[in-house]
């Protein structure tokens, strides 16, 4: 690498604040120019803007950069925020906390603590071992995958801040209440025996002392990891969404996913649980369904159950939880999601 290229690459590390300000300005400019750019691109193609194909293409050209841009921005910022919260520190904050307050804290920390479902089991045991109550641990485990930055960024990109905030609030509510209920059920003896026999540990969790350049580096790294992993799903999802957008008649979904169909919400949850996808793959399809008249509550319930409850996760958790505790976990969370779906459809709709 030449000296110049190297010094350009190191620049964000040398002048972190200048870099952040410039990056934010560039991001904002790019975001503002999305609509004119997408119209210009369709205008260049030999298709009628008002045709099915033209409408589908404009949707695709506008949505793809918009979603990717928002996602990159949010993931970068969350990567920096995440660098303040390690699971070890979260555990120390939660250890010995009473239920109630503990559930609220656990669900909130679930949003900002970096979490990968492949670490769910070691994390679960680490928490229980350190004396975090079972229900509080579950609040964390429910919130962490469900209310994550990718889901929120996509909801914001596609539906606006009100729906993103509602999802945030209701997701937190489900995690807090479901964890609290599981705590009430007193199911500690439904942990696998070897888990209960583990010696308890004293939690230590000092704040990760990182410098600003290191936090910026953490932001870049999570963009590489997360955006690098999910962009094909997003592209596929938007392409499907664009197809529905251009070709399926409006209100087509209203008949069987509209809010008059009371059975649509439970059905959405039942279909959603065995499906395993991340937020990125689901949301663009969800957008297209909504645009064609599906009810918001039904669609959100579907999305939450796809993200929060998944069969592969159950299989992993089976190593530490007995079947009855897993059943209670699924039952309680599914009920919470159902209520969210109905609240959206009938109270807010």
């Amino acid at each position: 690498m030449t000296d110049l290229a190297l010094s350009v690459r190191r620049w964000p590390q040398r002048q972190p604040f200048a870099f952040l300000a410039l990056a934010a300005a560039a991001w904002w400019l790019a975001y503002r120019s999305l609509v004119p750019l997408s119209e210009a691109m369709v205008a260049l193609l030999p298709v009628e803007r008002e045709s099915h194909l033209g409408s589908a293409l404009q949707f695709f050209f506008y949505d793809t950069p918009k979603v990717l841009l928002l996602l990159t921005g949010v993931v970068f910022v969350m990567g920096m925020v995440n660098s303040y919260f390690t699971p070890e520190r979260t555990r120390a904050l939660l250890a010995g906390r009473a239920e109630g307050v503990g559930n609220v804290m656990a669900a909130s920390l679930g949003i900002v603590t970096p979490f990968c479902s492949c670490s769910a089991v070691p994390l679960f045991i680490g928490f229980v071992q350190a004396g975090v109550p079972l229900g509080v641990t579950f609040s964390f485990l429910i919130a962490a995958p469900m209310v994550n930055e990718v889901a929120l960024a996509l909801l914001f990109a596609l539906f606006g801040w009100k729906i993103a905030l509602l999802y945030l609030g209701l997701g937190l509510a489900v995690a807090i209440v479901a964890g609290w209920v599981i705590g009430r059920l007193k199911m500690e003896h439904h942990l696998e025996d070897w888990v209960r026999q583990l010696r308890s540990v004293h939690p230590e969790g000092e704040a990760a002392r990182l410098t600003w350049p290191e936090r910026i580096d953490a932001g870049f790294q999570s963009v590489r990891e997360i955006v690098g992993r999910v962009w094909p799903y997003i592209l596929a999802g938007i392409a499907i969404g664009a197809g529905i957008h251009g070709y399926v008649p409006a209100d087509f979904m209203a008949s069987f996913m509209g809010k008059d169909a009371w059975w649509a919400v439970p059905l959405a949850v039942v279909i959603g649980v065995p499906m395993y996808s991340n937020a990125a793959g689901v949301i663009p399809v969800v957008e297209a369904l909504l645009a064609k008249g599906a009810a918001l509550g039904t669609v959100l319930a579907f999305m939450m159950s796809v993200i929060a409850l998944s069969l592969p996760e159950m299989v992993i958790l089976r190593k530490v939880l007995k079947l009855r505790l897993i059943a209670a976990f699924v039952g309680v969370v599914a009920t919470g999601i159902l209520i969210v779906g109905y609240v959206f459809n009938f109270v807010l709709g």
Binding site: P87, P114, C118, P122, Q129, L198, V201, Q221, K319
Partner: protein, 79 residues
């Protein structure tokens, strides 16, 4: 000879971590013995909450995510 343990349930990141450590050790000519810890009971017993985790000579040096090459070189160099 450095004793290196990589803790993880066999996900892609854990395999990448093992490969990286072996590569860096070979580049620098540091003799190491890599052991993969894949049983969830053993991972948990070591106190690591995020995988992949790395333990060098009995000390946890890394948890969560694929480590960087420079970091690996650092662990192998430290006496």
């Amino acid at each position: 000879m450095k004793q290196v343990k990589v803790l993880g349930t066999g996900c892609a990141n854990c395999r990448t971590t093992v490969r990286l450590i072996e590569e860096v050790a070979q580049e620098r000519g540091v003799p190491i013995e890599v052991e993969k810890v894949e049983r969830i009971e053993d991972i948990v017993a070591s106190g690591v909450m995020r995988t992949p985790g790395v333990i060098v000579d009995g000390k946890i040096v890394h948890a969560g995510g694929v480590p960087k090459r420079e970091a690996i070189a650092g662990w192998l160099q430290a006496a």
